[in-house]
């Protein structure tokens, strides 16, 4: 590290490029972890579960990253980016686990960059575009609460890798949910304008809650959180009814493909490149 200029310093060669955390060609995040699939665990089901949870996280992280340079305050931008980073880390571990157990030997990049929208299994709420800060908060509240409830159950999963990823994820998601819930109350119980925007965000999210109701059994905890937060925020509880799987079955809104085009563009244009 001889140069004073930070960018030149970054561009200096390193003997061991595994330390670079951006771009492709990462070191396997599960390097050195025992990869055996325990007896009694169906490898196909385990891989599918890991991919679905990783897809939720990757797509959410991409939407959260869109807030960078656009959030109402620097602190919120940093918060949303940090939450996205946690989710990206969870996605990396889960994709790596899926590749170990599904027999394909794919690495995390193969899942993230080289699958098309129809192969993704994220719930559709994660992929909805844009919206205002209120929408970002409501979606984060819903998805973090739902994921937290699900991860709490996965802590006792017979696969030790998935269980360990869940155990760590629970701690992170607890912070994400707390952050979103506090903002939801602050905005719902804030000005007329912030209240109006929160109502609109809840209405926009409501049709997508039905999918979360059937995808797994975390629904009661999600319902409890929504009741607690909307009550404290003076907001109406969103009304919804269970819907069949859509994102989990590979059926997505028209918004996922453009998101993936942006996410995957560079890796697909230069498939052998590492940077």
């Amino acid at each position: 590290m001889s140069d004073d200029h930070v960018y030149l310093t970054l561009a200096e060669g390193h003997e061991d490029d595994t330390r670079w955390a951006y771009g492709t060609g990462f070191e396997d995040p599960l390097h050195g972890v025992d990869t055996t699939v325990p007896d009694g665990v169906d490898a196909g089901e385990l891989a599918a579960e890991c991919v679905a949870l990783a897809d939720d996280a990757l797509v959410s992280a991409q939407r959260l990253a869109e807030w960078v340079t656009r959030a109402p305050e620097l602190e919120e931008e940093v918060a949303l980016a940090n939450i996205g980073l946690d989710l990206l880390g969870q996605a990396r571990l889960l994709y790596s686990r899926a590749g170990q157990v599904d027999g394909t030997g794919r690495d995390e990049d193969a899942y993230a960059y080289f699958r098309d929208a129809g192969d993704f299994r994220n719930v559709t709420l994660a992929e909805l575009p844009g919206g205002d800060f209120a929408f970002a908060i409501v979606r984060l509240l819903v998805l973090s609460s739902w994921r937290l409830a699900h991860f709490r159950r996965l802590v006792t999963h017979p696969d030790p890798v998935l269980a360990a990823v869940a155990a760590k994820g629970v701690k992170e998601l607890t912070y994400h949910r707390q952050y979103a819930a506090e903002w939801a109350v602050r905005l719902g119980d804030g000005t007329d304008e912030s209240h109006r925007r929160m109502r609109a965000a809840l209405e926009r999210v409501a049709p997508y809650l039905g999918e979360l109701h059937t995808a797994h059994d975390a629904r009661d905890e999600l319902a409890d959180v929504l009741r607690q937060v909307t009550e404290a925020a003076g907001l109406p509880l969103p009304v919804y009814r269970p819907l069949p799987d859509s994102g989990r079955a590979g059926e997505h809104t028209e918004h996922l493909a453009p998101l993936l085009t942006e996410l995957q563009g560079v890796a697909r244009a230069h498939p052998e490149a590492t940077w």
Partner: protein, 168 residues
Amino acid sequence: MVTARLDARRARHIAEQVPDPELPMLTLADLGVLRDVELTGDGTVVARLTPTYSGCPAMAEMRADVAARLHEAGYASVEIRTVLDPPWTTDWITESGRRKLAEHGIAPPGAAPRGPVPLVLSPARPAVPCPRCGSRDTEETSRFAATSCKALWRCRDCREPFEYVKEI
């Protein structure tokens, strides 16, 4: 070429002294991410590290640093393994690590939560004492800061902002 006595204790000591890339006042031993270091029969040093946060970009840096320090010390064959279980919590930060954080103006974490953390919307969480003046008249400015592991606070008495390693 360093002619090293290839003993496990020395290898462990070297790995323990590697500074954390984000909190360089702490060693990896202070941070509690170095689970163990052993020497296998064929002379390979196996160091086991556990990640702090799932997405912490410093993990790759830590692995590379431990390997580089051990190579420099003459250990030709080094393997860094990832350990996920039991998960790291801030309780793994040692007493000396906590003291060093405070000396550098970073408030150390309290006890990590055990079991499920309920969603509490009020009242406010207990204040973190200011690492500079000790005042408890402090407030959180952001739950998330420059790195995943820290929050931003400020002291109303000495008027200084400070970072706080949040319990996890």
